[in-house]
Every structure is written in C-alpha cells, then in structure tokens.
C-alpha cells in the first residue's frame, strides 16, 4: 500500500473532527473520499499532507511512518496537495506558481520537462503563462492548482474538491485530466462533493460521515448502492 491510515483521530481544540479513520490507497489507484459538508474530508487531507497534527493513530506512506513528519518533508517524500479553495499565490504569475510547485527539486532539466507536461495537460495555462494568479478565473485557478501540485513529481496526488465552483463543461474536463494524470502513473486521492463524477472515475471510494468512514467499496459498487444514491447522488 502506498498510503495507509490507521485509526487516525484529529482534534480542533476540543472538537474531535476525525474519529479513528482507517483507509488505504494502493499504488496506481484513484481513490475518492466522498461525504457531506463537515464530514471531515478536507481534515483527512490536511492530516495526510501534514498541515494538522493528528492526535492518535498512524499514517504510513510508502512503507515509512510519517505520522509526525513535517509537512515540507512529506513533499520531498512524494505527497503533493492541491488544496481546497485552490490556494493559488495571487501575486505570482502562472509560471512562478508552477515553479513554486517544484520548490523541493533541484534538477533544472526535469523541472523544465514537468513544466512542459503541465502546459500540455492544461494548454490554457500556457496562454496565461505571464498572467498573475489572482486575476484568473476560478477554472483557470483550479487548473493551475492541479498543475502546480504535479510539479513536485508526486507519488501521491491529493486533490481537494477539484470541481468546486466550476462550470459543468469544465468539471468533465478536469476529471478527464485527473484520469489522464493517473494513467501516466500518479496515484490520486480525491475529495469530492460531486459524488457522481468522483465515483464513476475512481477505482475505489470511501464514504465519510461526521468524522467516520461509514462505507467503502469500488466506485461502481457505491455508485449503485441505494443508501449512497439516496444521500449523495440526488436520486431517490
């Protein structure tokens, strides 16, 4: 297993946000994490990327215990996140944002290669290369956030709500690109409110409710599960 969470609990002050989450992500998979607002999806992501310390439990990545590791070292190990709300650097240009994504790397030639790859995946970013991040539209910022997360050459790509605030056409497009990235060899853990899209693209998925995993299965299993349909897919 590339990523393994075991009984992870996490506290915001005295409020418990995660009540013992256990989940795995295998190499080469797309795994989706679905659930309502406040279920703990983003918190789980933050625990994995190291932005919040976990209270109990352990996180193993690529055979190594990273439970207490600093966030910047997790990036070096191969964990990369496209954060919720995109987290674009507003005063940096598209190119500078992408260069920030390669912050932990030194090899100029490889960085150039990945920059070209990001521009191939998102031709729009190439057009906007010299534009500052803050002036771009929501969809463009989302592409930039995903492209930037790829610039560290991650083993595991964490995508937090990549479809948030996007037009239906763009949602299709961004999911197509996620599948493409996965086929090129990057493991993806995906947090989504758009359960329909997420479940139809993911190999496996977990359903999160108030900080607990209540269901798991393959994407198509959950897609046809009556209770999941009822709660998250908007069809009775």
């Amino acid at each position: 297993m590339l990523l393994e969470l075991q009984d992870v609990t996490l506290l915001y002050g005295r409020i418990q946000a995660l009540h013992g989450i256990s989940m795995t992500v295998g190499e080469g998979e797309i795994v989706a994490l679905i659930g309502a607002n406040g279920a703990g999806k983003t918190t789980t992501m933050r625990a994995i990327s190291g932005l919040r310390p976990v209270a109990q439990g352990s996180i193993r990545f690529n055979g190594e215990d990273i439970t207490k590791m600093r966030a910047d070292l997790r990036v070096v190990r191969g964990v990369s996140q496209s954060p919720e709300g995109r987290g674009i650097f507003p005063g940096m240009t598209v190119r500078e944002n992408l260069e920030m994504g390669a912050y932990t790397r030194r090899n100029r030639a490889e960085i150039k290669e990945d920059m070209d790859r990001a521009f191939t995946l998102f031709p729009r970013l190439k057009e906007r290369e010299k534009q500052v991040g803050g002036t771009m539209s929501g969809g463009e910022q989302q592409m930039l956030a995903v492209g930037r997360a790829l610039m560290s050459r991650p083993k595991l790509l964490l995508l937090d709500e990549p479809s948030m605030g996007l037009a239906p056409m763009l949602i299709q497009q961004i999911f197509d690109i996620i599948v493409e990235i996965n086929q090129q060899g990057t493991t993806v853990l995906l947090v989504e409110q758009n359960a329909q899209q997420a479940l139809s693209r993911a190999h496996r998925a977990y359903v999160l409710e108030t900080g607990r995993i209540v269901k798991s299965g393959t994407g198509s299993e959950l897609l046809h599960d009556p209770s999941v349909k009822d709660a998250y897919l908007g069809v009775a």
């Binding site: 932005l51 910047d72 990036v75 507003p90 920030m100 994504g101 912050y103 500052v132």
Partner: protein
Amino acid sequence: MTTTETPPTGAVPAAEKKNWRTSGGVRGWFGRQHWAVRTVLALVFAAVAYLLPYAGDVPVLGPQIITEGIDWPSALFNMSYYVLLALGLNVVVGFAGLLDLGYVGFFAVGAYTVAMLTSPDSVLHTEWPWLAAIPVALAIAMLSGLILGWPTLRLRGDYLAIVTLGFAEIIRIFATSSETLRGDRGFSDIPHPPGSYADGKPIFGVADATPYYWLGLSVIILVIFGVRNLDRSRVGRSWLAIREDEEAAEIMGVRTIKYKLWAFAIGAFIGGLGGVMFAGQQGFMNSQTFILQFSILVLAGVVMGGSGNLFGAILGGALISYIPDRLRGIEDPIFHTDLFGFRFAIFGLVIIAIMIFRPQGLIPSRRRAMELKDREKEVAPQ
C-alpha cells in the same frame, strides 16, 4: 475638449494597449534600460544622496528643502537611521508578511549593547571602542530576534502583532527599572566612530553631523544590496510564498518556520544596526529613547512608502523623520507657536491622504497590490 482626443473604446484590444502605466511606469522603463545605463543612473542617484548635506546651497529650491529648526545635517542623519529601520522592518512586514509592532525592541537591543560595552557608566567597565562593540551588538540583536521568534512565530497575524508589541514594552520597562540599564539616567560618553582628519581633529565630532550622515548612507547602501540579493534568492521566494499563502507555501515544501525566523533575525540585525549608529552619534541615550511610538512610526513609514518595495520603504522611512523635522521652527499662523507641536496632527492628515489616494503606498509593490485585491475578494460576500 479632452474627450474628443480619446480613441473610441473597444477600437484597441486591451492586450495591445500600451501606455506608460501598463508598461510599468518609471520602474518598467528603468528595467528595460541597458545594464550600463542603469548603473550610471544608480550612481548619479547615490551621488545626489551623498551631496544632500549641501542642498541648502542650491539657489531657490534649496532653502525650501532644508530644515530650519534643526541643523540640516542632523536632520539628514536622523533620516538615515529611520531609513535603516524602515528597510529592516520591510523585510519582516513587507517581504515575509509578519506584522511586527515591537520593532523598536531590536533597535534598543543594538543601542544598549553598544552602550553597555563602551560607556564608562556601564557596570561592565569594558569601555570598548565603538567599532569593537558593533559585531557583538549585531549578534545579540539577531539572537534576540531568534529568541523572540522561536516561540511566537507559530502565531499569525494579530496575535503575532500583540506579542511583538509586548516584547518592545518589556525591553523599555526593563531598561527603565533595571539598575544595570540605568533607566532615565542613561549612558553618557558613548564613544563616536573612529577616524580623524590630517590636523588631528576627529571626523566624527559633536559639531557637524555630516560625516555621520555619510556613514549612515553608506550603511544603507550596503543594506540595500544585501536585502535585494536576499529578496531575489530562494529565501526571498520562500518569504513571498509565505506572505501570499502560508498554508499553500507549506504544502509546496517550504519550511515556513525556518524562513520566518530568518526574516525576524535579519530584521533584528538591521534594526540593531540602526541602534548602533544611533548610539554612536548621540553619545548619550536612556530608556526614554525607545518608546512604543517609535515602532508605530516606523511601521507607518513602511506602509506609507509601500510595504514590500525597497524604495517605498526608504521613501517612507525618510518621510517619517523629515516631515516632523521640517515643521520645527516654523511659526503657525493661528496660535503663533512652533508647528512642530502639531506634528502628529499634520502627520495624521498626511497618512489619511495617502491611504485615500494611494492605499498601496507611495511606491507600491505590484505583487502586494495584487494580494490586497485577492483578499478583498475573499472578504466579499459570495
């Protein structure tokens, strides 16, 4: 009519429209020049700065510029250490985006270390020359930055501001009440910088402040080079990322605490340098020098000049010192007292005017402007 001259809107696509402002104004123009041209311009600018003590000799314009109530070279020296402080604070506030309200604390640490090591009033009785005390003073200032920063830099925004405010007050109150730091009595006979003319008279005397100004200016130029290089390095890039979005910076792999500590330490170093210069010129200092107002004033200067922009910080630092000094010795028309008494009222008006007409500061940082806009968007209701 001016309206007839403007081309019909939409005739020129926005992307192709090039005017003075969109192509970067003065800075854009400067950046497009050949490096030799830029060097010559910078040298001319520096030469003018070095010649400022003689500004009074310039016909017509000169007497308008120089101060009346305080001798002009002294006013220039005051400006030089304010500029130094503004440059240092700009690293902390402008580059790394950490709101430090207690910056005067580092100035005090630098000045007090010099006083302790050099003044005959000190309990240490070392009576070192000024020059020898500098490295120790700067090291201690930097160390105090690290010591303050280590526990506090995990705080953000307003919380950090309050802790730093407390730090400066602790230093001041400690200096006031401590027997070792001599409170109001202060330290006298702090030695001046070394050097003498051919006839044996010291260069850095009591009567003429011009050499101190030149020394201050030279230090400023060195600091500008240092800070500029830092800003363009990986360190500067890390600061920029932290300032724009600390969390995003962290998941890019920036070790945020390390670079925040660096910003604090470098800021403290430059602040300490200001204190060293101050002590060397004044010869006397006590705890009244380091009031909180001082921190706020320097911060106002940085924000007024243009936070995050080196030349904005320099201009702001110079203005906060120049405006009150310029008001000295001018009689106001209503109460017939010294206008200097109204300095804070006038200063307040100037700041309000700048905040209305140039909210990003007089020489703004373009990135900073973008960040402010981005933050407005976040605050706006969805």
